[in-house]
């Protein structure tokens, strides 16, 4: 039986959490502004707890098993992060308190800025963006304003490799850039000749994901950056794949101008069923004054006896603010904790083990599944989920069948440049036995595709629901459950 909705279990007159009676004299409510009905559910506290516990059990999650969802970096989310982010010293601070009363918060944010600058090789960082795509928007706003401030209004062309995340073209399009897709060469790198033809005084910038979404480090990256810079453009780095580079390589060192981080990928903060993320943006020296306003800084230097006073500084050419307040502070507490516990050795260990795990799995699977670009990969790799001898079986079937083996499927049908893509990112926190079990399941599925393809077509078999009718959802457009009773008071 499906779990009923919260409205289904509502019973008129039932109460959950209640509050004290007012301890002040009563004031009449304003006439003409009071609602007649408040159609919220009426459920006891226990029933609410059971309801949400039950539905939680219909989820797959990292805490339950292997989650090799490519480009999402589903690594272990350390429990200590959850504990410290819930300290009331952090949680019970209002964003508009006087700065003298929140020196702990401001120090922590300042420290995260410094850590991110050091890890990626940049001169300035904003913590304000709420997620990776929001960081991209912030970065492209900076590119746009930089060119406008220089009078380069004709620079409207944004180059985006065909292997890029879908958020890249979407973010640029929001600002009116002309998006020009850039092809990959036969090795999965940016095609240099194609790039050269597009480098002129109309070029605003290039959005580069490196390692790219094929899991490959672009071998042409130094040349790519040189070409873009020579024609006056800026290079934006999509940092979604920073997990492969921690302690190994700093994008800022080769001249990337702007880079966003996905804190919820690289720095172990939970994905939360689709957020909250956090998408800080780092910039090179010449763009520091374009960062969103405000940035955390030291406003009075300290000395051997007194700590410095942390506060807010206001970049002179700022693009403005991109949301309320200063960023997803609660997420930054977790990232600070994680980076503090790793240090430089631990960060390098993350990248090395992430890359080791991915290459190990790639090696185990590449004979059975087609590997379109046969190179060592970085932290993830892309296989074709399709065989010519069993044309009826698709990447989607493989993905669904993996659920029967108790694994979360890889990302499928992305990147678009690989036919029937299966994008696999094991992350560094997985043990050898887990990788072996997953590889065994993948090999067995390849076998089943030939011997019993119905198993794949009908998969999954043991999940809370079977394959869902997505067309029906798009046709019926039911987005709400409706209360059935008369809700007037």
């Amino acid at each position: 039986m499906p779990e009923p909705t919260i409205y289904d279990i509502s019973v008129p007159g039932r109460k959950g959490v209640t509050f004290p009676e007012p301890d002040v004299p009563q004031t009449a409510l304003p006439e003409g502004f009071i609602r007649e009905k408040l159609p919220l559910p009426e459920v006891s506290e226990l029933e609410v707890v059971r309801h949400f516990t039950h539905i939680s059990q219909n989820n797959y999650a990292i805490d339950l098993g292997f989650y090799p969802l490519g480009s999402c970096t589903m690594k272990y989310n350390p429990k200590i992060n959850e504990a410290v982010s819930r300290l009331s010293g952090f949680g019970a601070t209002h964003p508009l308190q006087p700065i003298e009363s929140v020196q702990g918060n401001l120090y922590l944010m300042y420290a995260v800025q410094e850590m991110l600058k050091e890890i990626a090789g940049f001169a300035g960082v904003t913590l304000m963006p709420a997620a990776g795509a929001h960081g991209e928007l912030t970065g492209t706003l900076i590119i746009s304003k930089y060119h406008r401030d220089r009078g380069d209004h004709q620079r409207t062309r944004m180059l985006i490799p065909d292997s890029a995340h879908g958020t890249n073209p979407a973010s640029s399009a929001m600002l009116g850039f002309d998006i020009v897709p850039l092809p990959s060469d036969e090795n999965g790198n940016v095609d240099i000749e194609a790039l050269k033809a597009l480098c002129d005084d109309k070029l605003a910038g290039l959005m580069l994901t490196n390692p790219n979404t094929l899991g490959l480090f672009d071998e042409n990256v130094v040349e790519v950056i040189k070409l873009v810079h020579e024609s006056g453009g800026l290079v934006y780095g999509d940092g979604a794949n920073m997990n492969a580079l921690l302690g190994v390589f700093r994008p800022g060192d080769i001249g990337i101008d702007i880079l966003h981080f996905n804190i919820h990928k690289t720095f172990s903060t939970p994905h939360g069923g689709g957020g909250p993320g956090s998408g800080p943006v780092a910039v090179a020296e010449h763009l520091v004054e374009y960062l969103p306003d405000p940035v955390v800084g030291i406003i009075e230097e300290g000395d051997s006896e007194t700590a410095p006073l942390y506060g807010f500084i206001h970049p002179t050419k700022t693009i403005g603010r991109v949301k309320t307040f200063y960023g997803h502070f609660g997420i930054l507490v977790r990232a600070f904790t994680y980076i503090s516990m790793l240090g430089k050795e631990g960060l390098r260990d993350v990248a090395e083990k992430a890359v080791l795990n991915a290459n190990y799995l790639q090696e185990k699977l590449k004979g059975t599944y087609t590997l379109p670009y046969d190179r060592h990969c970085m932290h993830e790799f892309v296989l074709e989920g399709f065989w010519k001898d069993v044309p009826g079986v698709h990447a989607l079937d493989i993905a669904k069948r993996l659920m029967d083996y108790n694994f979360h499927p890889p990302t499928n049908y992305f990147p678009l440049i690989v036919h029937e893509a299966l994008m696999i990112e094991p992350t560094e926190t997985e043990a050898l036995e887990t990788l072996d079990r997953f590889a065994d399941a993948m090999l067995k599925i390849a076998d089943e595709a030939r011997t019993n393809p119905e198993l794949l077509h009908e998969a999954p078999h043991n999940t809370p629901v079977r394959r869902c009718d997505e067309l029906k959802a798009a046709k019926d457009l039911v987005f709400c459950c409706y209360p059935s009773d008369d809700w007037s008071d």
Binding site: G16, V17, D23, V24, P30, F33, R35, L40, V43, E45, V49, S56, N59, L64, I80, G89, G91, A92, T93, H94, P95, L96, Q97, P98, I119, A130, A131, G132, H134, L141, H165, L175, E219, G247, V248, F249, I254, G273, G274, G275, P276, G320, R321, F325, G330, T337, S340, L342, K344, K353, L356, H376, F414, T429, A431, V465, R466, A473, F479, C481
Partner: protein, 451 residues
């Protein structure tokens, strides 16, 4: 740390891959840039990190140590214990976006219920699965309206009584489009409660009018004429609403708003120094296909069983790339779950109680404060919800300093964003505020006057 590899594991894996050492896997990275020597503090064990974080947190003064009248869009409400307990289920917080519905029904059902609760609360037809916060939700309303009229209507009107940070965020988002005019929030149009000067600017070139309800100053204004005028000119109306106030007030859908949006933080989300919060966003069904962000819809599975899926994804960036209606990818998943549990566990009775307690206590505070010599209410005759403006004879900074010395965060100094509101202090009162603390505030303020 957190990597399980034994020395033996590494050897087995390297052998399988066919390389001698892990470094060999990084040969494509230009050698001169490989292995930078990072200047970071020595790493900590979990025990040390826990102590360090306790130490940093203890450098803050919190709303538990101080009596806080701070609001301005973010409010200190009581959060029932069951909420965080449920949020800490790994099944919820260590899952990602529910792209695979068969193993994500928990997240999908929670979002479906969130959409339902937001629609019922606002009396709108369709809610998305959230934006980042109130400000970004407001910016998305502008993008929606501008796109709705295919950029042919060039004017967006913002009331000056909309949260200044929302207005700033809108301007940031729209700065690259020099043909769009964002007007209505200048000092000349002002903040008069009759809204006449704002209404006068609505014309056939107006795509959207954005107002706040209750407004930034806590006032409950009558938007009837504004909405009628906007609709008569074919413009859309968006209302930024405080969700707690909707426990009492006529919802935006009934007032005729086309879009209702707002900051969801009051719905069971901790203050947490500004985030993460939640931006809710709901529309009338006419705008259903224009809404950005994720939507969960009801369907059935292969066996005819009720199921939930992400739907209308053809609007989204991972399918449409540069033609997408928005670039949004991750949103505020876990916080929508918090809001869903909050609205469920308070329910109709508890939620109304909270709204009423806020209203009653705020009115008691306003009444008592207005009786102190040297202080008066800015809008004495206007209805308000749980926030109000106190005018002082002294500079606000001085008043706030004095209060801080008595362990009170006195409120929000309006003069910084509103030069016309010199010496004006805005105070918020929630259900957590006791009469005793309000009386204490009054006592301390009486001293200011005598000083």
């Amino acid at each position: 740390m957190f990597t399980p590899h034994t020395k033996n594991d590494v050897e087995v894996m390297l052998k399988t891959i066919g390389v001698e050492k892990v470094e060999d896997l990084f040969k494509e990275i230009p050698k001169e840039f490989r292995y930078p020597d990072l200047n970071l503090a020595p790493r900590l064990t979990e025990m040390e990190a826990a102590a360090e974080l306790e130490n940093i947190a203890s450098a803050n003064g919190t709303t538990k140590d101080f009596i806080s009248f701070l609001g301005a869009g973010v409010y200190d409400h009581y959060i029932p214990a069951a909420i965080d307990n449920l949020l800490q289920r790994g099944e919820f917080y260590t899952a990602y976006t529910p792209y695979q519905p068969e193993i994500s029904q928990g997240t999908l059902q929670a979002i479906f219920e969130y959409q339902s609760l937001i629609c019922r609360l606002t009396a709108m037809d369709v809610s998305n699965a959230s934006h980042y916060d109130g400000a970004t939700a407001a910016a998305e309303a502008v993008i929606l309206a501008y796109g709705h009229f295919r950029s042919k209507r060039k004017k967006v009107l913002l009331s000056r009584a909309v949260n200044p940070e929302y207005r700033a965020t809108i301007r940031t988002y729209m700065q690259s489009d020099s043909s769009l005019l964002i007007l209505g929030d200048d000092i000349e149009t002002g903040i008069e409660p009759d809204l006449k000067k704002l209404i006068a600017q609505i014309d056939n070139d107006t795509a959207l009018v954005l107002v706040q309800y209750p407004d930034f100053f806590g006032r409950i204004l009558d938007y009837k004429e504004l909405i009628e005028t906007a609709h008569a000119h074919g413009a859309l109306v968006a209302m930024a609403v405080n969700p707690t106030a909707l426990g009492l007030l006529t919802p935006p859908g009934e007032l005729g708003a086309d879009i209702a949006l707002g900051e969801g933080q009051p719905l069971g989300i901790p203050l947490s120094y500004g985030g993460p919060y939640l931006g809710f966003f709901a529309v009338k069904s006419a705008l259903l296909r224009k809404i950005a962000g994720r939507l969960v819809g009801e369907t059935i599975d292969a066996e005819g069983k009720l199921a939930y899926v992400l739907t209308l994804t053809a609007r989204e960036q991972h399918i449409r790339r540069e033609k997408a209606s928005s670039n949004i990818c991750s949103n505020q998943g876990l916080l929508t779950l918090a809001a869903t549990i909050y609205l469920s566990i308070l329910g109709k009775h508890g939620f109304k109680q909270v709204a009423n307690l806020c209203y009653q206590k705020a009115h008691y505070a306003a009444h008592q404060l207005a009786g102190i010599e040297g202080f008066s209410l800015l809008n004495e005759d206007l209805p308000f919800f749980h926030e109000f403006v106190l005018k002082s004879e002294q500079p606000v900074e001085q008043v706030l300093d004095h209060l801080l010395q008595h362990d009170i965060f006195g409120g929000y100094d309006l003069s910084k964003e509103y030069p016309e509101l010199e010496n004006c202090l805005m105070l918020a009162v929630t259900e957590k505020m006791t009469r005793e603390n309000i009386d204490y505030l009054c006592d301390v303020l009486e001293e200011v006057d005598h000083a």
